[in-house]
Structure formats: structure tokens, C-alpha cells
């Protein structure tokens, strides 16, 4: 038996069984009908010692290519960012990571205060009034936001930008399917990559919500945001905006331009890539009671202890939640991504406003430097979409087979980005590449040079 279980003497075991009043452990399973009992062992590999397990897993993971041994320019919803050592130190405190949901606030103040601070920073970052303490990820946060819009505004049409992340679109469809509402995509402008306002106007009638992302999936910054807000509000719907939180170091917060709900992926705030998870769904909205009452997820509030003298934190507005309201709850969410929210809080406080702004500028500059370097290459249009971008931009390879270029770059241990055609068939041979602070200028040069080599 693995060493984290204590071994007992026969004598002790017999005493325990006697106290319980049974002959053996099997008697405690006597109420299971014999016909369904498992009469054999579960068929899984025999146990490994701790040491062997660690070596074995290391050897299996060795087959992966990581950012340590390749140049990777993938973002597409999960841009890679550096994780400061202090953040890891904080989230590896076992008082945090081996706790459960803080059902007993008196003994869980640390987690509760950290989550309250998370909510506050998310509000500052997004320009919203109330944030919850996390959803599973960006996609489920977006889907829950749209379900919330339907609760607030009544059943009706939902509009989603064609240029939002394809996974978000699909998850939204899955989550909205039982509500049998109409989900319509609003086209993007073929030249700029931005949302097409004319198409939005055409489809806005009876819309209960509009979901857009800023920057959008193509990395392009949506700047007609006031018009979007006006159009959707005129038709009586909510304006839901998905964000990359690091971009908010320099891009206006959605609260500034009329958003009612803001969602996003917080994994890049102090979380490693981890092949896509654990993730962190950011969810924040305006402070009107009609909205807050309909929010999904755990919310932490500040109060005092009963003496009134000592500040304290606890979960609030629980009457929205499943453990009290059951089938009437605003969402079924229970376990969320609390530790990732602590990581995000630690990350944002290590960076501060100044650090976050510097990081966003660095990322912006790195991506624009890369774009300039690609501009000189024949048969490459960089950027393909003319709209201003943040950290990610599209590259069109004219008259070339992108798959072949991608394959040859991979041979040079370069993962060039995301081939957009997979999700947008009309965008043939368009690549989406992402540049952040983890890429040096030298990395960019090697990428550009290698593209030249494989193209000619």
C-alpha cells in the first residue's frame, strides 16, 4: 500500500471492527446486491512506487515538445506569459491549495480575502462593479454571461461576433441549446478584420445580447465599440465583451464603452499553459441589482465579525446558488477555479498597474516589430487584416501552401502559430501568430529568417 496510508496491527484492526460491530470490512458492504458486485480486480496496471512513478511520468512527458525546446508562436485564446517566481511561491502554500471552498469563513479568512482582492482587481481591470470569484474558463464564462442575459432580458436572439474565438462560439452553442434561442453570427469586415457594424444593425432587432471580443480572435482591436454598445442597447440587449486581461494594461476597459458583462481568460495571469488547463474564467458585470441577482458563481463580500470590530470576509448572495436554490439557481457551478484566482491576484499585485502597463507595451511592441520584419518578405501579407492589433496578427501566404510551410518550420523546431483556415475556411493560407514577452527579439529574427528559408 502506498506510504501515505498508515498500516495497522491486526490487533488494532480487530478492536475497530469489534467497536463497529462487524466481523470484517466485507460485512459493511453487505447491502450491495451480490449480482452487481465486482467479482474480479479492476483491470489497471500494477502500482508503482513513488520513485518509479516519477521517473516513468518524466519519460512519458519527455515526448512532448515544449517552449523550452522549440519556438512557439501560438496564442489563439491562450497567449503564453512568464510566471514570476513569487506567484508560484504563493499558490504552492498548502494552506491555500489543500483547502476546500470556504464554507467555514472563520477558519478560511486567507482564501476569502485573497478572492475578495481578486474580485476588486478584476473590477478595476475591466471597469465593472462586481466580479465573481471565477468560472471554469473564458468559454464557459462567455456562455454563462449569455444565459444570464436571457434571464435578465427574457428569451430572444443572441448575437455573437463571427470573429470571436471558435471554441467560445461552440461552447456558447452547447450552453444555449437547451434554451432553444436563436444564435446569430455578426460578420466581420473582410479588410479590417473588425466586426461589421452594418451587419450588426441588420441583425440587432430583438437581440437580447451581443457578444464580441476585444482584441478579437484575429488579434485586431475593435475600436467601434461605442457604436456596438449603442446598437445593442437600442435594441434592448446587453453588451457582453470578452477580453485578454493583459491587453487591458493599455486598452480601454469595456466598462468605459458601455459593456454590461465582461468575461475573459485569466489563465495567463500567473498560470502556466498546462496544455490548456487549469484555466480561469473571468466574469464581471455592472452593479445594478437586476444584473447582480442573476450572476452565476461564488461571490465574496467584506463584512465584520459579530463584535463589529474585526474585518472579515465571507461568501455572499448565496441564495442565487445551487446548494440553496437547487433547480432555481442561476447556475449549477460549485467547484470553480479559486486557486487560479489567487494566482491571478498574486500576479497582478506583483506587477501592479505600472508593471502591467509595461508588459502590455512590451507585448505590443514585440508583435509590431515582428510584423514589420515580415512585411519585407515576398508573397507574405503582414498583417493580413488591416485593423490595428495587440499581440497577435494574421499573415497571409499568397500562392503558397501554408501547411507545407508550417511543416517545414516544425522541422526547424518552430511552431509558427495557428492555421486560421481550420476554423474559417474562407481564410486560406492565413496564419495567426502571437508574440509576447517570452519571445526575444532574437526569437523573432529566427522565425522570420526561417520563414524566408522554407519559402524560397
Amino acid at each position: 500500500m502506498a506510504n501515505f496510508y498508515k498500516n495497522y496491527s491486526r490487533k488494532k484492526l480487530d478492536k475497530v471492527l469489534e467497536k463497529i460491530g462487524v466481523k470484517d470490512v466485507e460485512e459493511l458492504y453487505s447491502d450491495i446486491p451480490d449480482e452487481v458486485k465486482l467479482k474480479r480486480e479492476i483491470s489497471i496496471p500494477s502500482p508503482l512506487t513513488e520513485k518509479d512513478l516519477e521517473f516513468y511520468l518524466k519519460s512519458v512527458l519527455e515526448k512532448n515538445m515544449s517552449y523550452d525546446d522549440a519556438l512557439v508562436f501560438l496564442g489563439a485564446g491562450l497567449p503564453p506569459h512568464y510566471v514570476p517566481a513569487a506567484v508560484e511561491e504563493i499558490v504552492s502554500r498548502n494552506e491555500f491549495y489543500t483547502a476546500y471552498t470556504p464554507y467555514q469563513p472563520e477558519i478560511s479568512q486567507g482564501m476569502l480575502q485573497a478572492l475578495f482582492e481578486y474580485q476588486s482587481m478584476i473590477c478595476d481591470l475591466t471597469g465593472m462593479d462586481v466580479a465573481n470569484s471565477s468560472m471554469y474558463d473564458w468559454a464557459t464564462a462567455a456562455a454563462e454571461a449569455l444565459r444570464m442575459a436571457l434571464r435578465v432580458k427574457g428569451r430572444g436572439r443572441i448575437l455573437v461576433g463571427e470573429n470571436v474565438g471558435p471554441e467560445r462560439k461552440n461552447v456558447i452553442r452547447t450552453y444555449l441549446e437547451p434554451l432553444e434561442c436563436e444564435v446569430l453570427e455578426v460578420k466581420f469586415d473582410d479588410e479590417s478584420g473588425r466586426l461589421d457594424l452594418e451587419d450588426l444593425k441588420d441583425k440587432a432587432q430583438n437581440a437580447r445580447a451581443l457578444y464580441v471580443e476585444n482584441p478579437n480572435f484575429f488579434g485586431v482591436i475593435e475600436k467601434d465599440v461605442e457604436s456596438m454598445s449603442e446598437i445593442i442597447h437600442d435594441s434592448g440587449g446587453l453588451f457582453v465583451v470578452g477580453v485578454d486581461p493583459i491587453s487591458l494594461g493599455i486598452i480601454r476597459p469595456p466598462g468605459d464603452y458601455g459593456a454590461d458583462i465582461v468575461v475573459g481568460e485569466g489563465q495567463s495571469l500567473g498560470g502556466w499553459l498546462n496544455f490548456g488547463g487549469p484555466s480561469l474564467g473571468i466574469f464581471a458585470c455592472k452593479g445594478e441589482a437586476s444584473l447582480v441577482r442573476q450572476m452565476p458563481g461564488r461571490i465574496i463580500g467584506m463584512t465584520t465579525d459579530l463584535s463589529g470590530e474585526r474585518r472579515a470576509f465571507t461568501m455572499v448572495l448565496q441564495t442565487r446558488e445551487q446548494h440553496i436554490r437547487r433547480e432555481q439557481a442561476t447556475s449549477n457551478i460549485c467547484t470553480n477555479e479559486a486557486l487560479m484566482a489567487v494566482a491571478a491576484t498574486a500576479y497582478l499585485s506583483i506587477l501592479g498597474s505600472k508593471g502591467l502597463r509595461r508588459l502590455a507595451i512590451e507585448v505590443f511592441e514585440r508583435a509590431h516589430y515582428a510584423c514589420e520584419r515580415f512585411k519585407g518578405i515576398d508573397n507574405v501579407i503582414a498583417p493580413y487584416f488591416s485593423g490595428e492589433f495587440f499581440q497577435e496578427f494574421t499573415l497571409k501566404f499568397v500562392g503558397k501552401d501554408l501547411k507545407e510551410i508550417f511543416r517545414r518550420l516544425l522541422e526547424k523546431r518552430i511552431i509558427a502559430g495557428f492555421m486560421v483556415e481550420k476554423c474559417f475556411p474562407k481564410l486560406e493560407n492565413v496564419l495567426l501568430s502571437c508574440f509576447t514577452e517570452i519571445h526575444s527579439v532574437g526569437d523573432v529574427e529566427r522565425f522570420v529568417q526561417s520563414v524566408k528559408e522554407v519559402m524560397f
Binding site: 501515505f4 501560438l74 488547463g277 455572499v316
Partner: protein
């Protein structure tokens, strides 16, 4: 003697000495109307940030500090080797959209894990995608919906039967998937009332969601009949695996006839709960339901592992990418550490500990409303209704008093159908000595409730704050959800 740290630790915002203004910037190619001009995240030196969070951590209680017997939450010890495994850069710095030939190691582990979970649950296939138990439930309910839609009956076959002892997530998940919830009363033994079940099933029955053992820690001994009744009515059977840690290697949901099973890896397979997540809630399906599983599934063609999306009947994507991967890897490691024998022993120990703790409680104060004489599984429920009637001491008071002894409280006021409930799950990683100590503390608190009820009602005294004012916390006039509110006050 337990004393939790009592730092008066300000909010990060209050720690920041300087104005939080930020410099303006001008960047070529940045849209002018989108420039951010204000940002209020505090600027602090790293020293101060570290002290802040370390102090906060000292005001938090985890299973590494002591017994944490929250019923149904299964707070067991998380082996440390699992924590170290996930620090590997070949995991941490791998992007989910990398070409699949560059992440074969990752896919291999996920493929093997999904096979283990299918074998452990006696089902056909598993999807590892859902991020938590409730997320798995939602996926499972959507699968049932998809199957019914295919027969064209969804308008009429729209009722999900759920016992009144179920976790709140069950009715909430069913409702999210568009079902009407039919509440099934428990019988006097705390089990599904088979006659009541017979009277509610029919052409409108979409299915049943059942937790086994149930939240009383009791095995549904009529399980075979229950499954049969629902299936004969044309419904589907959903197994909530939140309590599966009681039955590993003993009996499998698939063998009992269940169509869909979700697992809480953070409970059954000992991944840490992170103070509220991340978790993982894989959903497993029988032969007749596997084609509806959420995508992607991880497949193996004999030479390479790959992500399979091309499943036309699938309910589709339920989240971005493929799941909470580092949680899944920890669960994989836990299964490989234990093997078949070890997993069975996990359950036996969980059940032994639970029954042992139950046997040690003073039944004059801790009464058993349901199934007093039935063998308990991994958890049990007692009521302190009598203590309330006689001494005005509530389940909440007893929970708070426990905190003063440096152990965590059980789940309280659940299941909802038990007055002044304590739902206790010691888990298999507590030793008999810890179980004895917990029983001793519970009994002592009961005696103190009779000698000096005011003392119990005033607890906790030793935690970082005294009893929290929950009314003020949620009252519309005093509610504070954001430190911005603080400035206005």
C-alpha cells in the same frame, strides 16, 4: 491548543503607499480612441506582496493542517509526489494547439487515464473535458437531452427525477439542460422510495440522477430495481460519482446499469481542491450513450495518440481546449500509485473510518435520523436537533466549536431533509487515531453544550476572526463586493 494566526492584514490596496496612477503612452499603430488612461491596481514591492499572501495563508485551514471531514466533499490527503510531477516544463510549457505529434506524451497519459476511468466505473468511454463535478453533470444531462431529441420526444419526455437528498448541483444541472425536476422523497430508511418512484415514472421521464452511496452515506440496496424501473419507462440513468470513493473496486456504476457517470477527481482521486478549485469532472458513458460524450476524446490508432472531434452525435464542446490537464495528471499519478488493490483499500478504509467514527459518537446527542442500523459507507449524517431543543445549541454552533479544536467542521445543514444535520466524512487518509480524536472532540462539545451552552454559542474563539456577521455581509445596505466601495464609505 489550536490558535490560528490573527494578523490584521490590510487589503492590497491599503498597503500601497503611492498614488496608483500610470504613465501615458504613445504607440505607433495603436488606435487613439482605445487608449486606457486609468488603472488602479496597487503598485507594491515584492517583499510586501509575499508577506501579504503568506500572512493570508496562515489564516487559512487546509487538509495538510488537520482533519477536514466535510461530508461529500472528500477532503483527503493529496500525495506530494503528484504536486511535483506537474512542475515538469514538458507539461507546464506545452500549448494546447501545438501539432499533436509534438504532444504525444500528454495525449498518451490522457488516453490511458480515460481508459482507467472507464474500467473503474464499468463504462465504455470517458471524456476528460469537464472542469468540475457539476460541469460533468451538465454534460451528462445534455447527453440525455441529445439522446431524447433524437427520438423526437424532447417536448414530452422532459422530467428528470432527483431524490430530495441529492446535492444541489443535480437539480441545477438538470434545469440548465432544460429539464423539469421531479423531486423524489426518501423513505424512512433514507433510501429512494421505490413505490414513490413507480408513481412518478412514465412517458415524461427523461431519466434519474442518483448519487450512490447517497448523501446519508447509504447504499441504495434496491439499485437494480430502481434502474430497471427507470429504463423500462424509457428513461436514462445518471450516476453522480461524488461519493464513488466508497465503492472503488467493489461495485461499478456501469455494472449496476447506469448510462452515464461523472467523477470528481478532486474527491475520489485525491487531487487538491485549491480552496474551491480547480477540479476535474470527467464524464463516462455506457455503450448506448458514448457517442454523445463531449468532445474531444483522446484516441489511439496503434501508433499515435490524437484528439477526436469528428463525432456527429456529440453534445459538442463544453469548455475551451481539453480539460484541467494538470489536475487530470495528478489523478493519473494517484491511480498508478495505488493500482487495483490500493484503490479497493481506499474505499475499505474510507468506509471503516466512517463507521468507526459513527460508532464512537455519543448517540444521546448525535441522533441518526435515517438508516441508523444500516452499514454506513464513506460518510454518515447525524442530527443535533435534540441539543437544539434542549439547549438552544445549533449544528452551526457545534461546527464553530470544532474549529476551536483545530479541526475542520463537517458539512452542516445538509441533506436539507434532516434537521440540524452534520454530514461527516473522515476519508481514508485519516488514521484511526485521528478518527478517535475527532469523535472525542465531538462528544466533548456535546457535553459542553449541556454544561455551558453559552460557551458553545460563542465559538470560535481561536480562529483568525470571531463568528462572521453573515447578515451584514449580504444586506443590501452594507454589502461590499469590491474595495472600490470602501472609498465611497
Amino acid at each position: 491548543m489550536f490558535r490560528q494566526a490573527r494578523w490584521t492584514e490590510p487589503l492590497l490596496k491599503e498597503l500601497s503607499e503611492e498614488e496608483n496612477g500610470i504613465e501615458t503612452f504613445k504607440l505607433k499603430g495603436f488606435p487613439e480612441n482605445m487608449v486606457r488612461d486609468k488603472l488602479n491596481i496597487p503598485n507594491l514591492p515584492e517583499t510586501r506582496v509575499i508577506r501579504h499572501f503568506i500572512r493570508l495563508s496562515q489564516m487559512n485551514f487546509g487538509v495538510d493542517l488537520g482533519t477536514y471531514p466535510l461530508g461529500s466533499c472528500t477532503m483527503k490527503y493529496n500525495p506530494k509526489v503528484c504536486e511535483r510531477i506537474v512542475l515538469n516544463p514538458k507539461l507546464r510549457m506545452v500549448h494546447p494547439l501545438q501539432p499533436q505529434e509534438t504532444c504525444q506524451g500528454m495525449l498518451q497519459i490522457l488516453y490511458e487515464l480515460s481508459n482507467y476511468l472507464a474500467e473503474i466505473t464499468g463504462t465504455c468511454r470517458a471524456s476528460l473535458v469537464p472542469a468540475a463535478g457539476a460541469h460533468g453533470e451538465f454534460a451528462g444531462a445534455l447527453m440525455i437531452r441529445a439522446a431524447i431529441k433524437e427520438t423526437g420526444e424532447i417536448k414530452t419526455r422532459n422530467e428528470m427525477i432527483i431524490p430530495d437528498s441529492a446535492h444541489g448541483t443535480n437539480p441545477a444541472s438538470a434545469a440548465m439542460a432544460g429539464f423539469k425536476v421531479v423531486k423524489l422523497p426518501s423513505n424512512q430508511d433514507g433510501l429512494v422510495d421505490v413505490e414513490a418512484l413507480k408513481s412518478v415514472v412514465g412517458k415524461s421521464t427523461a431519466g434519474i440522477m442518483l448519487t450512490v452511496p447517497n448523501t446519508f452515506g447509504l447504499f441504495e440496496k434496491n439499485i437494480v430495481e430502481i434502474v430497471k424501473i427507470v429504463k423500462e419507462a424509457g428513461g436514462y440513468t445518471y450516476y453522480d460519482g461524488a461519493n464513488l470513493n466508497a465503492l472503488l473496486g467493489k461495485v461499478r456504476p456501469g455494472d449496476m446499469g447506469f448510462d452515464i457517470v461523472h467523477l470528481n477527481l478532486h474527491k475520489t482521486f485525491a487531487t487538491p481542491h485549491g480552496g474551491g478549485g480547480p477540479g476535474a469532472g470527467p464524464v463516462c458513458a455506457s455503450k448506448r450513450m458514448e457517442e454523445y460524450l463531449p468532445v474531444p476524446l483522446v484516441e489511439y490508432d496503434g501508433s499515435r495518440y490524437f484528439l477526436e472531434y469528428g463525432r456527429p452525435k456529440s453534445i459538442g464542446l463544453v469548455r475551451g481546449f481539453y480539460g484541467n490537464i494538470s489536475v487530470l495528471i495528478r489523478a493519473y499519478a494517484y491511480i498508478r500509485l495505488l493500482g487495483a488493490d490500493g484503490l479497493r483499500e481506499v474505499s475499505e478504509r474510507a468506509v471503516l473510518n466512517s463507521n468507526y467514527l459513527f460508532s464512537l459518537l455519543d448517540k444521546r446527542f448525535y441522533e441518526t435520523p435515517y438508516g441508523a442500523n444500516a452499514p454506513k459507507k464513506h460518510e454518515f449524517v447525524v442530527s443535533v436537533g435534540k441539543v437544539l431543543r434542549e439547549k438552544d445549541v445549533t449544528a452551526r454552533d457545534i461546527a464553530k466549536a470544532l474549529l476551536d479544536y483545530g479541526v475542520h467542521a463537517p458539512t452542516i445543514y445538509f441533506p436539507l431533509i434532516v434537521q440540524e444535520a452534520l454530514m461527516i466524512e473522515p476519508t481514508e487518509t485519516e488514521g484511526f487515531e485521528e478518527v478517535e480524536e475527532y469523535a472525542r472532540i465531538l462528544n466533548e462539545i456535546a457535553y459542553r453544550a449541556y454544561e455551558n451552552p453559552e460557551w458553545v454559542k460563542g465559538t470560535p474563539y481561536n480562529t483568525s476572526v470571531g463568528r462572521v456577521d453573515e447578515v451584514k455581509a449580504s444586506h443590501p445596505r452594507t454589502i461590499c463586493l469590491n474595495w472600490r466601495r470602501l472609498e465611497k464609505a
